[in-house]
């Protein structure tokens, strides 16, 4: 069953789901259950492909100038699709009772978001990767825009335009590669695989390679977000509805790092080598800034948003230091961040639905009133603080250990990044103390109800994943290691010895 038209099913299913959900008439409940069923169905379909290593689907549709709908699935793309389908399922299940207005549109948009993300991950053609890379913004634009908080107009506008501006530069870089290949070989194709094989034997001159690499990095850096380009993230997260934040943090941010690992570094290894130093500096600044600023926040969602800046700073550090272990750790940390931050946003959403405020000082003493909630919150905090035994540690340890051995950039960055480990504890425990310990700051807090079975269905898989991947990451790292080894085999000749 696992052949190329499985890929087609993987590609087409979410698009179909979007259509079906938008067609459903009738009261809100029907739409919700249909959409959750479809999300579950897709999650199972994705699970079927667990053993896949590499699948390719040749396109039948001819397009002018050599563009074609090639689909390509490898373990890098596969695990992100798994994470995306899993988080979408959780997000939709969470927003059952929460969303009242325009439910059909809400669910249709989430399925559309998933469809574009999966399409983007599966595209083998650079141009159609770009098309779906931009298309991802539209559903998110509406999700934040229609169901967001007070300043949603400013936030969603800033989110869309910032990412759109960055990716337009990538468009020119992408076309430059596409035409460079045409001029060199006379063949019109933007298929990533053929480009990779070609550039492996006769790479572009470093000057050309550098500026194209920079356009790619600019676009991906905005999405990640890397240090100077991160100011859209706190606004987007604070204004987005809870389910929107879960998907935004869980999946959309990972597209940036996925892009770096899949396209930017393998295509332009020498340029990546040349710019490794400054980019590592930016990552380290992102780690420290993210942690310190998160410490000052009074809005919980903003705190978690800045913590994402800090966590993804580790991932980009792992990528730009260009070592195999570093890359394995970076990829694992992407998935971990998706799980832990997604869970944190769900927890904040749980609080927000009862108290309708995100101000951290409005809570207090939750440990006594909501013991189960505090347990889940502490477990997720430990995962994001990288306590050994949780998944966060495995990711961070591999990144830092791997990067320390690299000779592309100096080991001082890794030492500074490890300082981030300390800062991480400071702001996370600050949050836990303000939320859970001490006396409840307001009488209403007393009347809050603890987790019910609905929440347990949501959180127990996440908690299980946190510990399972913390203790036994091999089941997951095995295929990733092969893929990384493959990439490093191609770019090894260009790396400094």
């Amino acid at each position: 069953m696992l052949n190329s038209n499985y890929l087609l099913v993987l590609f087409a299913f979410p698009f179909l789901a979007t259509l079906i959900v938008s067609m459903v008439r009738g009261r809100g409940q029907a739409v919700t259950w249909v959409s959750i069923a479809l999300a579950l169905g897709y999650f199972i379909v994705v699970l079927l492909g667990l053993t896949v290593t590499e699948l390719r689907y040749e396109a039948t549709w001819f397009l002018p100038l050599g563009l074609k709908y090639g689909l390509y699935l490898d373990s890098y793309a596969y695990y992100l699709i798994l994470l995306s389908s899993f988080l979408t399922l959780l997000a939709l299940f969470y927003s059952r009772g929460v969303v009242e207005k325009k439910i059909t549109a809400y669910h249709a948009l989430f399925h559309a978001l998933q469809a574009t993300v999966v399409a983007c991950l599966l595209c083998d053609d650079l141009v159609f990767f770009y098309v779906f890379w931009e298309a991802m913004l539209i559903p998110m634009y509406f999700i934040i825009g229609v169901w967001g908080g007070q300043r949603r107009l400013y936030a969603t506008m800033k989110f869309f335009l910032y990412t759109f501006a960055g990716s337009l530069f990538m468009l020119l870089g992408l076309i430059a590669v596409y035409i460079y290949y045409y001029k060199a070989t006379g063949v019109w194709t933007a298929s990533f695989q053929t480009l990779m094989e070609y550039f492996q034997t006769n790479p572009m001159p470093v000057t050309v390679q550098s500026w194209i690499f920079l356009t790619f990095v600019l676009s991906f850096a905005i999405k990640v977000p890397l240090f100077p380009f991160h100011t859209w993230l706190p606004d987007a997260h604070v204004e987005a509805p809870t389910a929107g934040s879960v998907i935004l943090a869980g999946i959309l941010l990972k597209m940036g790092t996925y892009g770096l690992m899949r396209f930017a570094v393998p295509l332009f290894p020498e340029a990546a080598q040349a710019f490794a130093g400054p980019l590592c500096f930016l990552s380290v600044v992102g780690i420290i800034l993210g942690a310190l600023v998160a410490w000052q926040q009074t809005d919980i969602k903003k705190l978690i948003a800045y913590s994402s800046v800090s966590h993804l700073g580790f991932v980009t550090l792992g990528i730009f230091m260009m070592t195999e272990t570093g890359w394995n750790g970076a990829y694992l940390q992407m998935i971990n961040h998706g799980i832990s931050t997604g869970a944190l946003f769900l927890l904040v959403g749980f609080l927000y639905d009862q108290r309708h405020t995100r101000d951290i000082s409005a809570y207090g003493g939750l440990a006594k009133i909501l013991p189960m909630f505090t347990l889940i919150l502490v477990v997720m905090t430990l995962s994001s603080v990288a306590l050994p035994g949780t998944n966060g540690f495995v990711g961070e340890f591999l990144i830092l250990l791997g990067s320390f051995q690299s000779n592309t950039a100096s080991w001082i960055w890794v030492v500074l990044a490890s300082v981030g480990v300390i800062l991480g504890v400071i702001y996370m425990l600050h949050m836990i103390q303000k939320l859970c310990y001490g006396k409840p700051s307001k009488p209403e807090v007393e009347t809050m109800t603890d987790l019910t079975w609905k929440e347990w269905v949501l959180y127990s898989p996440l908690v299980a994943l946190v510990f399972f991947m913390g203790i036994y990451p091999i089941w997951f790292l095995g295929p990733i290691q092969e893929k990384t080894a493959g990439i490093f085999a191609t770019i090894a000749p260009f790396l400094a010895k």
């Binding site: 272990t325 890794v414 300390i422 504890v425 310990y437 036994y472």
Partner: protein, 633 residues
């Protein structure tokens, strides 16, 4: 190092029992009540102790048990594996043994507390992490235990979390431990860079066999410094000791088990375990020695002026740990290890005694409100007396033997500053322990509540510990005094001592005897002075301002707060408001505003007057003409 399957399951049982227990008590604690939890917790601990003891007596050491692969590191990989050798077994025996006793004690102490189940779940989790720390075969495994105990100490210190102070004390402990862990992480990276592997036996083999290039030596030196920072963080040495006194906010059994007997000794265990690596860099050993000595002296000076009984014991623990690091620094790991074991016994005894006093006086911790308890709490009094005498270094108790051996090594080293520090600290230790002893048990009763003796569960533990701390000395009775140094021989396979100088046997016996007499005289002197000073203690003392800095612990906490915490918070605000808010967002909103301003400006051109449009056409055309003509555009 063959692997019998039945040994594997025993080892797994020993370690996993506390983990399973912790999950049980947390979830079922409320439903099944205190009786179930207390029996369960103590029996699980006892069973784990029995397994460790079985391996201790039957297995041929060193025994390496491998479970499954954990971290793939490219060339090599780290797996969950246990390494049973003298070092780890000795400490695990102490951990599980003293742990079981303290569990028994805690069932009495925590009786009636709402979070009873939760408390024992955290305590069991702590024992699990401590066993992971001592038994694991690879550095990351050790690190897992290392941070696990840090987490449990955080959870237990802020156990009564409704009071904000306890919560921030726990937070402070975890953060300061994390600073130490930063050093440990760095050390692991350097070690991996040089040895390409993180499994401890492999590393130590290459260290003994290998010869190292200049570059490698740089990395190993950095690794040693990292380990020292890690050890200092965990064992509360000079730069990172501030968390231990605040850790007293937790329940007393926690202070006894974690902050006296087991967790804080992890640093010493690490230094002994990685001793071959340290031997490559003697200057690092020297640093450890001086760190230990200064910490010992510094902590002792503060302990004298504390009025809270648990704070006195906390600073005394820091001081005794200083001694252990001094011994390790001088290349006498056996002495350090011996002192570690004896200290575990008598410090646990002192803490539990203090706990029973506090329990009796309904949570009264200030010594100035105690006094004359020897008649009301006889058993606690007699056990505490043995503890005080042991720690003061009065022969023939265990404290005297282990401390004397350290002093012997210090004397042998001929480094006079260290000797001076060691001996004055010995005197001060005796003085403040005497002060504690007399203020609580002699003179008239200054408290409010009616004191009563603790229940049998607590006092029985006190008696056992009293016996242990009295007789522990025979464990490593020096050869010179006719002893068999069982611990020394037992550990000799793993660590070796640095012989400073060869002495002829006759002279050695004579000097060690004189040394023993001198150290015991110092101890007795401290006690008698304390006795005469506090015999009829009225209530206040050290009122003159000269003692102000000592009573306020040299304002170290305030200093750290001012330098580190306030600046970091200001830097955070700066980053948020200026870098993010003003610079980055400024650029963004600025460019948007620029675009809309130019657009409003250009819109004014649309005046609706047709002639102006024609005029603009001409102007546009002329520009086109000029551009084309000059060939520029």
């Amino acid at each position: 190092m063959e692997e019998q399957s039945h040994l594997q399951c025993i080892a797994a049982l020993a370690v996993l029992l506390p983990l399973v227990g912790s999950a049980l008590w947390f979830s079922l604690g409320k439903k099944f009540g205190e009786k179930f939890v207390s029996i369960g917790a103590v029996s699980f601990l006892a069973l784990s102790f029995a397994c460790i003891a079985y391996i201790f007596f039957t297995a041929t050491l060193p025994l390496r048990i491998n479970f499954f692969q954990w971290l793939p590191l490219g060339t090599s990989s780290v797996s969950f594996a246990f390494l049973f050798d003298p070092l780890s077994l000795a400490l695990s025996m102490v951990v599980t043994g003293v742990g079981t006793l303290i569990h028994l004690y805690a069932t009495g102490y925590m009786h009636g507390d709402a979070g009873f189940g939760r408390f024992f779940s955290y305590l069991n989790l702590f024992v699990f992490s401590m066993l992971m720390l001592t038994l694991s075969d690879s550095l990351p495994g050790l690190f897992l235990g290392w941070e696990g105990v840090g987490l449990c100490s955080y959870l237990l210190i802020s156990f009564w979390f409704t009071d904000e102070a306890n919560a921030s004390a726990g937070k402070k402990a975890f953060i300061v431990n994390r600073v130490g862990d930063f050093g440990f992480l760095l050390a692991m990276f350097c070690i991996f860079k040089v040895f390409g592997a993180l499994s401890i036996p492999e590393i130590l083999q290459t260290v003994q066999a290998g010869n190292f290039s200049g570059d490698d030596l740089f990395w190993t030196r950095l690794a040693c410094f990292g380990l020292v920072l890690g050890a200092a963080g965990k064992s509360a040495q000079i730069p990172l000791y501030v968390w231990l006194p605040d850790a007293m906010a937790g329940p007393t059994p926690v202070s006894a088990l974690i902050h006296a007997a087991t967790m804080v000794t992890a640093g010493v265990y690490l230094c002994c375990r990685m001793q071959p690596l340290f031997l490559l860099h003697l200057d690092v050993l020297n640093v450890i020695a001086y760190m230990g000595a200064i910490t010992a002296f510094f902590a002792a000076t503060i302990a004298i002026f504390q009025n809270d009984i648990k704070k006195v014991l906390a600073y005394s623990t820091i001081s005794q740990l200083g001694y252990m690091f001094l011994a390790v620094g001088l290349g006498a790991p056996v002495a350090a290890y011996f002192h570690l074991i004896t200290h575990a016994f008598f410090k646990a005894l002192l803490f539990l005694g203090a706990g029973s006093v506090i329990h009796g006086l309904h949570h009264e911790q200030d010594m100035r409100h105690m006094g004359g308890l020897r008649t009301k709490m006889p058993i606690t009094f007699w056990c505490m007396t043995i503890g005080v005498l042991a720690i003061a270094g009065v022969p023939p108790l265990s404290g005297f033997v282990s401390k004397d051996e350290i002093l012997h090594n210090v004397w042998g080293n001929h480094d006079w500053t260290l000797v001076a520090l060691a001996f004055t600290t010995a005197f001060m230790t005796a003085f403040y322990m005497g002060r504690l002893w007399i203020m609580t048990f002699f003179g008239k009763f200054r408290g409010h509540h009616e004191a009563h003796e603790s229940p049998w569960t607590m006092t029985s533990v006190l008696v056992i510990l009293a016996a242990a701390s009295a007789l522990a000395g025979i464990l490593n009775w020096p050869h010179l005094w006719g002893g068999s140094e069982t611990l020394g021989t037992y550990l000799s396979t793993v660590v070796q001592a640095l012989i400073h100088h060869a002495e002829d046997p006759a002279h050695a016996l004579q000097s060690s005897l004189t040394l023993a007499v001198v150290s015991s005289l110092v101890g007795l002197a401290g006690l008698t002075i304390a006795y005469f000073r506090y015999r009829n203690f009225s209530g206040e003392e050290f009122s003159s301002p000269a003692f102000r800095p000592f009573q306020n612990k040299y304002y170290i906490d305030e200093l750290y707060d001012a330098i580190v915490v306030k600046n970091l918070r200001m830097f955070g605000k700066f980053l948020w408001k200026v870098v993010d808010g003003f610079v980055l967002d400024g650029v963004l909103n600025g460019s948007a505003a620029l675009a809309s301003r130019t657009s409003t400006y250009l819109r004014q051109l649309q005046t609706g007057l047709m002639q102006q449009y024609a005029l603009w056409i001409w102007i546009g055309f002329l520009i086109l003409l000029l551009g084309a003509w000059t060939g520029r555009s």
